[in-house]
């Protein structure tokens, strides 16, 4: 891939200015493709988006604050296939400018504050290893502690093979906080984009209170080749597309990209975070106005614990302390 200098006037006209639509094969002027949110103006094919483009598409200007930008993966298995894992990571970093396959932070949609995690498929196929799992878990824990809705935009081939079962267990690590969001009354909206498969679909992505998908996105558990290869069956029409999942009841709505921000905004308004009952304590206590008030009330009453909710920044060990203290009270 040629190195692009943003300020260079020289351009490779043929390769850099036009993109061929893989669906209808029409030639699209790149500027036009960007203006059209990377959707083909002829046939409506949704091209994949980078994390940066997603942030600009969905969130209010200046509202996104990235969290935990510095978490980096290890090489727990010393994994080496034809390339070493560190080399593959480095190649993805150079290609995308990202440090990992997902970014999380807080932001606003029409002034409604959310915790949001966004995948970038170009970084090792959007695969989920320890870092992506950690970011997702912290995103959900922040939603819980701050009592704001969680939104995840998925685009992933699944669990990252290079971290072995540590990646597999990220399915459970990212799913466990959702149980807590349920009891705390905090909504989670999952948005499935092309492609969302494997371990990401088999965990949090399938567990949204509301699940949205982009048109014609590839969404499925096993790769289509695996599915037909294993059983030698003809695959049904539109197998593993967003439309297939809608028909079978696993997706709530298919939302064209231009409408995604609007639909998310409406859903956030229609699905408010549950209000806390007075005196309700425990994990669901947070930093919302009511949470803070009840926190103050409790402090005045003397029933004080140092750990409020789940420590957002406290990492992996913040939690046992919480539960221990709670059980002691």
């Amino acid at each position: 891939m040629p190195i692009k200098f943003p300020f260079s006037r020289r351009r490779d006209v043929s390769a850099e200015t036009w993109t061929k639509c893989p669906s209808c094969e029409s030639q699209i002027f790149n500027k036009q493709l960007e203006r059209n949110l990377r959707v083909c103006p002829t046939c409506g094919h949704h091209f994949r988006m980078s994390v940066g483009e997603r942030i600009d598409l969905l969130l209010d200007d200046d509202s996104f604050v990235e969290r935990d930008a510095g978490i980096e993966p290890g090489d727990p298995l010393g994994f080496h296939d034809q390339k070493s894992y560190p080399d593959r990571l480095e190649a993805s970093r150079v290609k995308t400018g990202l440090r990992e396959a997902a970014v999380w932070g807080t932001g606003r949609i029409d002034d409604q504050r959310i915790a949001i995690a966004i995948f970038d498929f170009r970084f090792m196929g959007g695969s989920m290893g320890s870092v992506v799992g950690e970011k997702l878990a912290r995103c959900f824990e922040a939603a819980l502690a701050e009592r704001i809705p969680a939104v995840v935009i998925s685009a992933s081939g699944g669990a990252r093979m290079q971290e072995g079962t540590l990646s597999l267990l990220q399915l459970a690590k990212t799913t466990a906080p959702l149980t807590r969001l349920d009891s705390a009354g905090v909504p989670f909206i999952s948005v499935l984009t092309d492609p969302t498969t494997g371990g990401v679909l088999a965990s949090f992505a399938s567990l949204g209170d509301v699940i949205l998908a982009e048109p014609r996105a590839l969404i499925g558990f096993a790769g289509a080749r695996v599915a037909s290869g294993t059983v030698g069956e003809e695959l049904p029409d539109g197998f593993q597309t967003a439309e297939f999942l809608l028909e079978h009841g696993f997706v709530d709505r298919i939302v064209p990209r231009a409408e995604l921000r609007g639909v998310l905004s409406r859903l956030l308004r229609l699905l408010p975070v549950a209000r806390l009952e007075a005196g309700q304590a425990g994990e669901s206590r947070g930093w919302g106005p009511i949470g803070v008030l009840s926190g103050i009330a409790e402090r005045l009453g003397g029933a004080v614990s140092d750990t409020v909710g789940i420590g957002v920044e406290s990492g992996t060990n913040g939690d046992p302390a919480t539960s221990r203290e709670e059980s002691e009270r």
């Binding site: 940066g52 942030i55 200046d62 290890g74 995308t96 498929f121 349920d182 494997g198 992505a205 939690d319």
Partner: protein, 331 residues
């Protein structure tokens, strides 16, 4: 670039590769004791229950209430066959969504009655066929995992044969996770990993070694808590003594976790899952121009003051690049 690693885990040698592959073969041995071989040898009574109450009974997963040393428990496990006919009936232990939904139903019953859940993992993976996709294979696995993270009863998980990816983890979230010595646990089958990363199914032994599938390696990774020794050449030579070793390991594990009240149990299960993985925290110089723009930046930009750069769009920082197909990571 140097990345943090785990001590003792260095690129496998040729001998280690052969050894990993030998274990995979043992885990898949046709005479290896299956869940229904182990249950009568471990439990005093067992009544198998059938069906997910929604679609059908999936013979690839079995389960029901049982007595363990006089104590009521719920046992659930993958079930492979012992010959061609039984393997076809059991779909080689690869469950459809209704199998996981049956497991969920049984777990909810255990939760209602406050009895521990014991699961036996032995599957190459969840079935990947069109029918499974149609009925929501991913959702079934995801909701099983979620249910297990919130069960208020002790859960002991035993990997008895193949721990194959999401299909195994769907009934594999526990307070204690044990594995038989020759059991294996992996995020994808070694054949699948080899096909994707080596582009050759012959590289399966190399993939098996690289993924650290063996019980001993899983212990080092902190994914499992203990390894149960097998008799002689492996569990297939002596089902009785394998079951006896399993029974005492399960009883010991239950003894350790049964002391916790439900809240402490859920807390420690959460902490266990939350702690799995290897990463490091580094300080990244904050891009104050974009991430949390300071008041100076905001006002400066509004008033077009000199020296305050225009705020770049996030899409300029992380733009799309022309990407080819990139499937080097996911499973």
């Amino acid at each position: 670039m140097t990345l943090p690693t785990i001590e003792g885990l260095v690129p496998p040698t040729a001998e280690e590769e052969a050894e990993a592959w030998r274990r995979v073969q043992l885990a898949r041995h046709p005479q290896r004791p299956r869940t229904l071989d182990l249950i009568p040898r471990i439990f005093d009574d067992f009544v198998e229950l059938h069906g997910d109450r929604s679609f059908r009974d999936d013979p690839a997963i079995v389960g029901g209430p049982a007595l363990l040393d006089g104590r009521a428990v719920m046992v659930i496990g993958h079930q492979k066959g012992n010959d061609t006919d039984s393997n076809i009936f059991r779909n080689f232990g690869s469950a459809h969504p209704e199998g996981f939904r049956k497991a969920q139903r049984l777990m909810r019953l255990a939760d209602k009655l406050g009895i521990p859940v014991i699961t036996f993992l032995d599957t190459a993976g969840a079935f990947p066929g069109p029918a499974a996709e149609e009925r929501g294979q991913a959702e079934a696995i995801a909701s099983s995992i979620k249910l297990m993270t919130g069960l208020e009863v002790p859960i002991v998980v035993v990997i008895v044969g193949e721990g194959g990816s999401g299909g195994a983890l769907a009934i594999g979230v526990g307070d204690e996770v044990l594995a038989l010595e020759n059991a294996v646990y992996a995020v994808i089958s070694p054949e699948g990993c080899a096909a994707i990363l080596w582009r050759s199914p012959e590289a399966a032994p190399a993939a098996a070694a690289a993924m650290r599938m063996t019980a001993a390696d899983q212990l080092k990774l902190g994914v499992i808590d203990s390894v149960i020794a097998e008799p002689g050449e492996g569990a297939h030579v002596d089902h009785d003594s394998t079951a006896a070793a399993l029974k005492s390991a399960i009883l010991a594990a239950l003894g350790r976790i049964s002391r916790l009240d439900p809240e402490a149990l859920l807390g420690s299960r959460y902490a266990r899952l939350r702690g799995i993985g290897l990463h490091r925290e580094t300080e990244v110089a904050a891009r104050e121009d974009v991430a949390a723009p300071s008041l100076r930046h905001r006002i400066g930009r509004r008033l077009h003051l000199p020296g305050i750069p225009r705020r770049p769009r996030w899409s300029e920082i992380w733009p799309s690049s022309d990407d080819g197909e990139n499937n080097e990571g996911g499973a």
